[in-house]
Amino acid sequence: MRDHPSQRAYPLTAYAAGNCLGRTTDEIVRALSAGASALRPCPLQLPFDTACGVFPGVLEPLPLSLAAYDSRLSRIALAVLDGLAGAVDRAIRRWGRDRVGVVVGTSTGGILESERAERAHAESGVLPPTFNFDRQHAFHGILEVIRLRTGAGGPACVISTACSSSGKVLGSARRMMAAGLADAVIAGGVDSLCHTTLRGFASLQALSTRACRPFSAERDGTSIGEGGAFLLLERGGDAAVRLLGVGESSDAHHMSHPHPEGLGARLAMEEALRQAGLEPGAVDHVNAHGTGTPASDVAEAKAIAAVVGTRTPVTSTKGYSGHLLGAAGATEAVFAALSIEHAFVPESLGAAPVDPLITVDVCLRRRQGRLTAVLSNSLAFGGSNVSVLLGGTA
């Protein structure tokens, strides 16, 4: 059975993330280990108070050769990709540039730049002279700048399914390699703070005014963050963590509410396990989607309980970084990989006191111990669900 393409495990030969917890995975693993949130008041001019995860430090403008693609989004993407540069160069030398694919998840692309340009146009009647909709806002803009920066010339696309986008990129990457269309794939996600998502989530009354508290009886909404994460998958190579399966499903229920029993989320987790040929009992940690909104945390917890039971430690990392939307799936896959490499389950920050309707084992204190298989869920608008299954080396 292991030889079937859909049951191949692909090594994660390198990965990197950057968000409010830090610009490097070393900084991020320290923050996750310490149980320290980095959410703070949102810097955008908004008609409400909310906590946000802001990418730390100065985001350098793009080099002159890529200046037409400059955006907050592309600055974040390239800052994070720098952490992967050596590994990507090695993969391109090993496999050839046309055999290295790129799959990137984003929910809103560079829409922040269009928001600014639209405002300028409304005030002056013209768009800013340097503004380029296709390169600074459209999804192919961020895709092109990543391909130019890395030199990867294989099949490339953006996956955009709202908050499941960059979990699903790992499914696309896996299939691309299984079908022989690529030998390595740079798979990741990036999103920046913008008015569209912050005001949009506010219109749905889904934002907390404070740092979000997933699974807590006192939760009152989510917090939005920005950042990026990229993972390098290869057909072969040494790695401490492997991609075992990616389950993708739909709720077929509602545009902005989850199925009340978490049916779609359950199907995604079951599919990931099926691809890996693993029993649910093999899962020793779940990085939940856990946004901190009242309905979705309960629905997801029901789904997790139905698949892996109520004794597997469950953590939402949204209380640390906020909800990174289109970058959430890849970011939390990196968190899960860090959990495996550093042998710990992070505390589910802000969860105490846990909602009595949530019957899974929400991890209230960091736990140390070897992990062999970790599920990471991302559940989105329109009922788009993904569950990513990562494993340590056997």
Binding site: L143, A156, M176, A179, R199, E248, S249, A252, L263, G382
Partner: protein
């Protein structure tokens, strides 16, 4: 995987209700809105024009192939997605207190059409929404190809784009348009063509397309639909047409 069998097609753009009328260049000025009967009336009132186009062509292709939309995986390819809805929200951000309508916000995501199709048909299986500019048709075919290689069965490819609205309108205008192709791992009673040899190719210009669709970001998909409809044999350029393109080989059914 050797190839994929095309067993159903769908097409909509203003003036053309289906593949047949479009391939015959027989416009009808009365065709100004897609048919979204697939969506129940309460949903139809809330959806976007882009979602209605996707529903129309998905229904056409599934009907022709005899496919069950409740059980068929869907790959949605769109360069700009719900860009008109996203831009319409922006004017509310100029007001200090402005918030978009919740419906408009959740309708602005790239996977909006997939979500409504899934809700309308009860499909809880695989679907995905992707974008790659002028390479969107090739990227969607890569995803569909890999999905068929992994699972066998069938997949519905849906392509849809509308031009970005002012002040972001494209330099070369094109109409809103959508197409769908039902692909299967094995041939069926309605199989029209066999696709094979999806690969990188030298840049080649897009052949002129009825309805002014050669500037459309999914032009490569329309070129493929046109080639299948006229039973052409040979390589079809999927775009991008300026550089770094993709092509696929088309063999009409019955000629193999």
């Amino acid at each position: 995987m050797n190839g994929a069998y095309v067993s159903g097609l769908g097409m909509w753009t203003p003036g053309f209700r289906d593949v047949e009328s479009w391939a015959a260049d027989a416009p009808d000025a009365a065709i100004t809105a897609p048919v979204a009967d697939l969506l129940p009336v309460p949903l139809r009132r809330r959806v976007t024009p882009l979602t209605c186009m996707a529903a129309d062509v998905a229904t056409q292709a599934a009907r022709e192939a005899g496919a069950d939309l409740a059980a068929t995986p869907i790959v949605l390819g769109s360069a700009y997605g719900e860009v008109a809805t996203a831009v319409a929200m922006m004017s509310s951000f100029r007001e200090a207190e402005g918030l978009p309508s919740p419906t408009r916000f959740h309708n602005s995501v790239h996977n909006t059409a997939l979500a409504y199709l899934s809700i309308a048909t009860g499909n809880r299986g695989f679907s995905t929404a992707l974008a790659a500019g002028a390479a969107t048709p090739a990227a969607a075919l890569v995803e569909a190809w890999a999905l068929l290689a992994e699972r066998g069965g069938e997949v519905l490819l849906v392509f849809v784009d509308e031009p970005p609205p002012a002040p972001f309108a494209p330099a070369n205008p094109y109409p809103a348009a959508a197409a769908a192709l039902h692909l299967a791992f094995t041939p069926g009673p309605t199989t029209k063509a066999l696709l094979s040899g999806l690969r990188r190719a030298a840049a080649a210009p897009c052949t002129p397309l009825v309805g002014g669709l050669h500037h459309h970001p999914c032009a490569g998909a329309f070129a493929l639909v046109a080639a299948i409809a006229r039973r052409a044999r040979g390589a079809v350029s999927l775009g991008p047409f300026d550089a770094g393109g993709w092509e696929i080989h088309v063999e009409p059914a019955g000629d193999a």
